[in-house]
């Protein structure tokens, strides 16, 4: 069957469009428009061209076995040597060519252990103005095995964040022990003996019932029988900052 004349003409137009598209896709437009590979290859090449500056823990260990063992048994086992001592590739190549620094100033430790409210609760943090000011950390702590020389006696030793919050609240003057019973073991092995939390409403009720002796607390007194159903108080109220809202 012979194709009608107009179909041939339409066919030519469509063929031209298809040809232009194919030409654009496979000849004219650069490959980098379609694929991330050229970018990745360029980035890899750029990075590969940089000189190696770190030696790595395994190389340090070859000569400094004693320090490695000490560190490996302590709390800093996951921290690489060069985190504190700086890149040591040149020292590893020739031990006399460059000596890695020995950071002894307080700032080196405070980078991780200075108080910062965003750090996790329980992470060892100190307030540098209160904690042995002007004394070098390394006089009491061995950085390779940084166990404190003696167990902390105050809750703030580990729970600085809570202490900071509580200090701004109406509960500032309440000692931790007025609500938590803390076993002595918790001070040396914190995870093995957790402190208690109030398990009944009477703990708060000591101050917050009508007619309580404390004049400040009786201002926010509640009827324990009518208020809050069967919930324990701290399920709704944050006791370290009761005026804040959950």
């Amino acid at each position: 069957m012979k194709l009608p004349e107009q179909v041939t003409r339409l066919g030519i137009v469509i063929a031209v469009i298809v040809a232009v598209v194919l030409l654009l896709r496979f000849v004219i437009l650069p490959e980098s428009l379609f694929s991330a590979r050229p970018h990745q290859a360029a980035a890899a090449e750029r990075e590969m061209a940089k000189p190696l500056r770190h030696a790595g823990v395994a190389v340090c260990r070859e000569c400094h076995e004693e320090q490695f063992e000490l560190k490996y048994g302590g709390k800093h086992r996951t921290i690489g040597c060069e985190n504190c001592h700086g890149p040591a590739a040149s020292h590893a190549a020739d031990e006399n060519a460059a000596k890695p620094p020995l950071p002894r100033e307080r700032e080196a430790c405070l980078a991780c252990h200075g108080y910062d409210s965003s750090r996790p609760n329980g992470f060892p943090q100190v307030d540098p103005l209160e904690h042995r000011p002007r004394k070098k950390c390394v006089t009491c702590h061995d950085p390779h095995d940084p166990v404190p020389p003696k167990a902390p006696t105050e809750c703030t030793g580990c729970h600085g964040r809570i202490e900071h919050t509580k200090a701004m609240s109406t509960h500032a003057l309440l000692p931790c022990a007025s609500c938590h019973a803390v076993d002595a073991q918790h001070m040396t092995e914190p995870r093995l003996a957790l402190p208690t939390k109030p398990d009944s409403r009477e703990v708060c009720g000591r101050c917050h019932v009508p007619g309580a002796t404390d004049p400040a607390a009786s201002k926010v007194s509640v009827d324990m029988a009518a208020h809050g159903g069967t919930y324990v108080c701290w399920e709704c109220h944050y006791a370290h900052l009761p005026e804040g809202r959950k």
Partner: protein, 392 residues
């Protein structure tokens, strides 16, 4: 107001205009297909008008997206770097297919005979334009004309699912946002599709009456009544679907129902309850039923059809607004309502939206001059023309 950050309203008025324009394209095409595929003879007088309307709106439909995204010079990249996991990216292909594969080819076959004749009868630049538009084709033999007719019928048959795809897709984009309870619904594509058909039919009806007034031509009342009937059916289906959507939401009473109720009864009350539902849907529904059951005279029917089509066009625009802007008027934490303040000037502004809404009419005016739909009635030499109004 803690709930405001960070969900700021980012899809503004241009994203309202975009589904509105696309819907009219799909609706106008489906109306045109009634003539070709379903042999509805009465609607023949508006067949070409419906096609030209679809083309005019189609040419503008992508512009709001280009303006919203910026960098229109990069638009071609979606065709060269296809991203099959993104519905938005694949839409470029749906749009392209519908424009190049369906609409232009159908219009070309439909107009080829007229283009050849116009090229013969005109001179100078116009002759060149018509010759080029007819792709320099000259064959007007009965076999060639019969082929044109068959080809445009075949393309319409492929075109119906394509038109459904074009607008069902727009609903799909919103319906698949599962994090937004106002949007995320499987009914969304089909609600969008039905409202598209309603708006397309209403737009062609509006244009048909308007053009007859402007050009002082006689309206074919049989045609107008038939369009009115299709409009009525489409509105009923659209109404049922939207009602089903709302009833379903109310009955399910998911956690979002509180904020959505608050949204509908406060921020969207005017645009949803008053404009979309009462003025844009129920009032036209009542009028169209009345027109069919009471014997009004021609002039009154014309007036009622004209007003109804305008109300429906307003109502569907309002529906797009309620979906796009409404979906961003409450916080995603479901805790409160937010505000949308429309810019007056600038890229995403009222003025741009008005310009984009006016542009299809300007394009249509040019197309109407260039390709007069009723030219064949007065110019065709006898013997090679098929009379309008009769289908072979």
């Amino acid at each position: 107001m803690g709930f405001i950050y960070p969900n700021k309203s980012t899809w503004a008025i241009l994203i309202v205009v975009y589904p509105y324009l696309t819907g009219i394209v799909a609706g106008a095409f489906i109306l045109a297909s009634l003539v070709k595929v379903f042999n509805v003879v009465e609607v023949q007088p508006i067949y070409r008008l419906a096609l030209l309307t679809a083309l005019s709106f189609m040419l503008v439909a992508g512009m709001p997206l280009q303006l919203h995204l910026g960098h229109p010079e990069r638009a071609y990249e979606i065709f060269f770097t296809p991203q099959p996991t993104s519905a938005m990216a694949m839409f470029g292909f749906v749009y392209l297919w519908y424009l190049l594969g369906i609409l232009l080819i159908e219009i070309w076959f439909e107009y080829r005979q007229q283009l050849v004749l116009m090229a013969r009868q005109s001179r100078g630049l116009l002759k060149g334009i018509y010759s080029a538009l007819s792709l320099f084709s000259k064959d007007l033999s009965p076999e060639a004309l019969a082929f044109d007719h068959k080809a445009s019928k075949l393309i319409t048959i492929i075109g119906i699912p394509s038109a459904f795809l074009l607008h069902g897709y727009v609903g799909f984009i919103f319906g698949s946002v599962k994090a937004n309870p106002w949007w995320g619904s499987v009914l969304m594509p089909i609600v969008f599709l039905m409202s598209a058909i309603v708006s397309g039919i209403a737009m062609v009806m509006f244009l048909y009456i308007l053009l007859s007034l402007v050009r002082n031509e006689k309206l074919d009342m049989r045609c107008l009544d038939k369009i009115g009937l299709f409009l009525l059916v489409a509105i009923i289906v659209d109404f049922v679907l939207e009602a089903l959507d709302y009833i379903h939401r109310l009955y399910q009473s998911e956690e979002s129902i509180g904020i959505l109720t608050q949204l509908v009864s406060s921020k969207l009350f005017l645009s949803l309850v008053v404009v979309q539902l009462l003025l844009g849907m129920l009032l036209p529904l009542v009028v169209l039923v009345l027109v069919r059951s009471v014997r009004f005279n021609e002039e009154l029917r014309k007036l009622l059809y004209f007003t109804t089509s305008l109300l429906i066009l307003l109502g569907i625009f309002s529906m797009r607004w309620n979906v796009v802007i409404g979906g961003q008027l409450y916080s995603k934490s479901l805790r409160g309502l937010m505000a949308y303040k429309m810019e007056i000037t600038g890229i995403e502004s009222l003025l741009t939206a008005l310009a984009l809404l006016a542009l299809p009419f300007i394009i249509l005016a040019v197309l109407y001059r260039l390709l007069p739909p009723r030219w064949m009635e007065s110019h065709s030499p006898t013997g090679i023309d098929r009379p309008t109004g009769v289908l072979t």
